[in-house]
């Protein structure tokens, strides 16, 4: 339980730091950029619950993000709802969408599931483009409310809100990882049939993971319209969210909740710096190149890389074993279809 206490302390410290920064730092751009970094922490953490723990690769993160954002827009336009209501509604609606995507895993595994998530994203985008009430393809301008008490600007307030969401998301991901749920999800990732046979409630776990993952992505997107003061489908459904949500955990390491956090903070910060100093297209390219580089060269991400380096320089120098090397010569039975159907 010492780990738990330490985590709690760190979480509280993170929130206090965020509140303090909102009071102390003068530069408004700092909050503008930090908000994006925190938003990616939430997205990456949420993606990892389904993608990293359970092994179901979601290419449609942008859809969940946008559903959250557009839920907020619809509520603002319809009843001028307060932010907390927007967040809760985004959580619920994106969670439902996630539940639906989770139901797809009933029949679809591997690449088929991933393609289906692309399909969900495009269908959602088409629906929003054709939905006049929230601006359709032309978008909609949204007025930021006055800054709440204690805050100098609304962006600062949103920064603190996002910090809170990020801490909660990470805490949730950590809880899932260390509890029986995480063990079940890992069993699904390693061998779903074996897990099912061993009594793991695979369907329930997959549905829960997909719904929670989607809900958190929706919450990450909910403050987006207020943050930008503008919403339009192309930026809300941007492929950048889908790629980043997947690249950040893979770069950080998917096996633990720390990985997505490290990946998101590093990558999103680099992106912010490149956007400012070079160009916004190049920052997107950086993500793609890093993703491919890490997938090929360091499959376990930064976490695996540091662990390997530590092991190499550590005491057990003689007993280094690199797993998973050179097994290609053994034919894998599962790969070959057994029926010799004639063309």
């Amino acid at each position: 339980m010492r780990g738990g206490n330490r985590f709690l302390a760190a979480a509280v410290l993170a929130i206090i730091t965020a509140v303090a920064l909102a009071q102390v730092v003068q530069n408004e751009y700092f909050f503008f950029a930090s908000y994006v970094v925190l938003q990616f922490v939430v997205l990456a953490t949420a993606w990892n619950i389904l993608g990293g723990y359970a092994g179901y690769v979601n290419f449609g993160s942008g859809a969940f993000f946008a559903v959250g954002a557009y839920t907020a827009v619809a509520l603002i336009k319809a009843i001028d709802a307060p932010l907390i209501l927007q967040l809760v509604a985004a959580f619920v609606l994106s969670g439902l969408l996630g539940f639906g995507v989770g139901a797809l895993t009933l029949r679809l595994r591997g690449i088929f599931f991933s393609i289906a998530t692309v399909a969900v994203a495009v269908i959602c985008e088409t629906a929003v483009v054709n939905w006049r009430f929230v601006g359709g393809s032309r978008g909609l301008a949204i007025l930021q409310p006055a800054a709440p008490l204690w805050f100098e600007s609304y962006t600062r307030f949103l920064f603190v809100v996002m910090a809170l969401i990020a801490v909660l998301a990470v805490a949730l991901a950590r809880y899932i990882q260390i509890s029986w749920i995480g063990r079940g999800l890992r069993a699904i990732r390693d061998d779903e049939d074996a897990a099912e046979c061993a009594g793991v409630p695979t369907l329930k776990l997959k549905l829960a993971a997909a719904a929670l993952s989607g809900a958190l992505m929706g919450v990450a997107g909910a403050p987006f319209p207020l943050y930008m003061s503008f919403i339009e489908p192309t930026s809300a459904f941007s492929l950048n969210y889908a790629v980043s949500a997947l690249a950040m955990p893979i770069i950080g390491g998917t096996s633990s909740w720390v990985g997505p956090v490290i990946g998101a903070v590093l990558l999103a910060s680099v992106q912010q710096i490149v956007t400012v100093t070079v160009s916004s297209e190049l920052n997107v390219l950086v993500v793609g190149v890093l993703l491919v580089g890490f997938v090929v060269a360091a499959p376990e991400g930064l976490l695996g890389l540091t662990a390997r380096l530590a092991r190499r320089s550590g005491l057990a120098r003689a007993s280094i074993r690199t797993p998973g090397d050179d097994t290609g010569q053994h034919p894998r039975v599962a790969e070959a279809p057994t029926d010799a159907g004639r063309p």
């Binding site: 690769v57 679809l108 991933s114 495009v122 790629v243 993703l291 998973g324 290609g328 070959a336 279809p337």
Partner: protein, 289 residues
Amino acid sequence: MTPELLIEAVVAGILLGSFYAAVSIGLSVAFGLLDVPHIAHPAFLVLGAYGAYLLGRHGLDPLLAGALLTPLFFLGGVAVYRFYHAAFERRGSDPGLRGLAFFFGVAFIVEVGLILTFGVDQRLVEAPYIGKSLVLGGMRLPLRMLVPFAVALALTVALSLYLSRTFAGRAIKAVAQDRTALSLMGADPVRVKQWAFGIATATCALAGALLIILGPVEPGLGRLYIGRTFCVAVLAGLGSLPGTLAAGLILGVAESVVLTSFGASWAPAVAFGILLVVLAVRPAGLFGR
């Protein structure tokens, strides 16, 4: 909708459908036969379209440009497969998550690379047959669609014949059925797969030329074609080339009918909608193995 309008939509759909078969046939080989999670296929397609655009600017006919680019794309495909094999398949570890992420990243790099080189504007090509129409029984058939139809049909038929009639083609089918047995026969499955993946990529050069003949192209177009190509490949039944043609026609007609009755902004959802239904109801597709 009037019957005339419906007939026109169906005819346009058939023309379009053959083109969809041509853009998906490479995927049918790479994904259907070789089990490579080739999400970057549509990105290569757009790359082919830009290749035709680039050569077209020097006065070359887009079809000729596409044909000239095929050897280059073939070599590129071989290189990509060798890399994929070395990085994922040979390690024997589960290539699932990482293989997908790899091709997703490659597709993303291609798209952003195109944006950085050409900008986000739409690009067109010029050719003598673009803009003219053939009037047949009171119906206007734009050559812009007829030419891709004819070339796509030829490409699809030629590739299915190649796979079923030639020795190399049958070797590709064999590696799809049972790679262990193939290696027991003394053939190297990796070389066969590399050859097949090269062919699959080479079709992108020609199909990409058709893509830019059919209409203007922009870097983000690949994402839309993820849905169309995978819809066709899955609906066909993985790896079935005659099925690819049938599935392409089904998608083309469905899209064209939706376009005439509901408007163009709903068209992108058609392919994905069909794909989801097929995946949910009959994942083996029409002509599944």
